[in-house]
């Protein structure tokens, strides 16, 4: 179980631009949950993910995994049990390396990166299989550089790479936002498949209300550092886009958007 307890986060403390985002923020994520998080810009969605991953420091509170405090665990150490896919498809892959090379380093996550040869011929078939499951024809382009692929293709590979090795948590930071609607649908389908197959605990931030309603088994809406809506189970299953949009519009009006 992942838990955020009494989190406080202040940006630019002690300056005129001081901004308190979280004050006594709490969230419990049960094992195997697939949470989708929506909210307007600046509501703290991405900050929340960054706090979980240790990408930004917090001013108070605790981040707990299975009851154990990980506040002092460095960012890269936390990724030993987490995978993350970013909004920017370029952040999940190495553009100057080939698909095969990218797959190889992702495959080695969790193991030492020593002086053994990086390319393992025995895994070649496995990579082909994985790539062909994307249905993008990338299995025949293993030796081309990632940088020459389209954003959608890159994001698909990034998703594969992030979930290749055993994980507990998958962090999805608006990972379909930079893609065209059709590609976004493909990536979203794929995400759902991976999360189900690997029984991952996933937190997905999205601006696409339809994805938030259709996928996942819990829905959070955030506004100015607070969770203002938390639906799960039956309630989540029965939620419609219109309901969510309605609440969303109401908070947006309050914000003056």
């Amino acid at each position: 179980m992942l838990e955020l307890k009494n989190i406080s986060k202040i940006y630019n403390p002690g300056t005129v631009t001081e901004m308190c985002l979280f004050e006594d923020f709490n969230l419990k994520v049960r094992d195997g949950e697939f949470i989708s998080v929506v909210g307007s810009n600046g509501s703290g969605k991405t900050s929340m993910l960054n706090i979980i991953c240790g990408s930004i420091p917090i001013n108070g509170g605790e981040v707990l995994i299975n009851g154990k405090n990980i506040n002092r665990l460095k960012e890269h150490k936390r990724y030993e049990q987490m995978g993350r896919v970013y909004q920017n498809p370029a952040l999940g892959t190495c553009p100057d390396m080939t698909i095969l090379e990218n797959m190889s380093i992702a495959d080695n996550k969790g193991k030492p990166f020593g002086l053994g040869f990086a390319l393992n011929k025995k895994r070649y078939e496995f990579y082909r299989e994985q790539l062909s499951s994307l249905g993008l024809g990338l299995e025949d382009k293993m030796n081309i550089k990632l940088g020459s692929l389209s954003g959608g293709q890159r994001q698909a590979v990034a998703l594969l790479m992030a979930t290749m090795t055993p994980l507990e948590f998958l962090i999805l930071d608006e990972h379909t936002a930079a893609l065209d609607p059709h590609t976004a649908d493909i990536i979203m389908e794929l995400t759902d498949k991976v999360v189900r197959e690997k029984k991952l605990t996933a937190i997905m931030v999205t601006h696409n209300l339809r994805y938030a309603v259709e996928y996942g088994d819990r829905l959070l809406m955030m506004d100015r550092g607070h969770i203002i809506l938390d639906k799960s189970g039956e309630e989540k299953a029965n939620a419609t886009i219109d309901d969510i949009l309605d609440i969303f519009n109401r908070i947006s009006i309050e914000c003056g958007n």
Binding site: H76, Y79, G92, M97
Partner: protein
């Protein structure tokens, strides 16, 4: 004339070791490492002192590489752990090394004829005794260069080597692979400066001297050779980076030699180097097209 060509190509080979170092930091890690101007003479200083003490000439190369590695580690530590900007971290180490080099060597040193260098040692004489000193220098430099090139090419195929490339390419990914990108950067700087110091050591053997100012401008030289090399072979992806850099280094030395032969005063050499470098950079920029960006890193 032939002698001049041989000695110029030899220079190109020896300095290509330095270019390998810059290739790693500048091209792979995207790290402008000014330590080079200090670690190059550091290698030479250590070599000169050890040679004068009667140490086996080949061992001096190893010793130089080790101290170079330490210099690289210091820069890496300052940048990664003490969070000083990359350029400044290099400048700090470089400045410190200027004094350290003088401490090690005492003053500018020259190595008298009686002392064997890697080019005149018994091993070299038995294998290549029939050749002239000039040819021996060429062959031995080439052997050292090839050994380093093969080792580097092999390293780039290892997991550690892949991680090094990944840090320069997209450091965010390295973090999500649960690896400390700072450590990888330090490893890169260590390897790079070991090569640079090795280059300084071979130069010391070749010139039979150490001078405290011999490092000035070496970083710029290295950058120029890396950019020349990689620009020439830009569209030939099967040419390894290391090969491209060797070609860059030899070409560069030839250009400078031609300039000197045309009557360029030695005092203007650094000015010409700077101008040449600027031209190469500008041409390189024209060909680059897109600027590489590691957003959020």
């Amino acid at each position: 004339m032939l002698d001049l060509i041989i000695s110029t190509v030899t220079q190109g080979f020896i300095y290509a070791l330095l270019s390998f170092g810059i290739y790693i930091t500048y091209k792979i890690l995207d790290f402008p490492d000014l330590t080079v101007d200090g670690s190059f003479p550091l290698g030479a200083a250590v070599t000169a002192v050890l040679l004068l003490k009667g140490v086996n000439p080949y061992l001096t190369l190893l010793a130089a590489a080790v101290v170079g590695a330490i210099a690289g580690f210091v820069t890496g530590f300052i940048h990664v752990r003490l969070k000083v900007r990359d350029l400044l971290a290099g400048i700090i180490t470089m400045t410190a090394l200027f004094s350290i080099n003088l401490q090690i060597a005492g003053s500018n040193l020259s190595i008298e004829r009686g002392i064997d260098t890697i080019f005149t040692s018994p091993v070299a004489m038995t294998l290549l005794g029939s050749a002239t000193l000039l040819v021996r220098k060429l062959i031995i430099s080439l052997i050292i260069l090839i050994i380093c090139k093969v080792l580097l090419d092999l390293y780039f195929k290892t997991k550690s080597g892949y991680l090094l490339k990944a840090v320069g390419d997209n450091s965010t990914l390295v973090t999500t692979l649960a690896k400390d990108m700072g450590r990888v950067k330090i490893i890169g700087l260590v390897i790079s400066n070991a090569l640079v110091a090795l280059s300084g050591a071979v130069v010391c053997h070749e010139q039979r001297s150490f001078s405290s100012t011999m490092g000035t401008g070496q970083m710029v030289f290295g950058l120029a050779t890396v950019i020349i090399g990689t620009t020439i072979f830009r569209n030939l992806s099967f040419v390894k980076g290391t090969t491209a850099v060797i070609v860059g280094s030899v070409l560069y030395k030839i250009c400078i030699q031609i300039a000197i032969n045309l009557g360029l005063p030695a005092n203007l050499l650094k000015l010409i180097t700077a101008v040449l470098f600027l031209i190469i950079l500008v041409i390189g920029n024209f060909h680059k097209g897109t600027v590489r960006k590691n957003a959020g890193a």
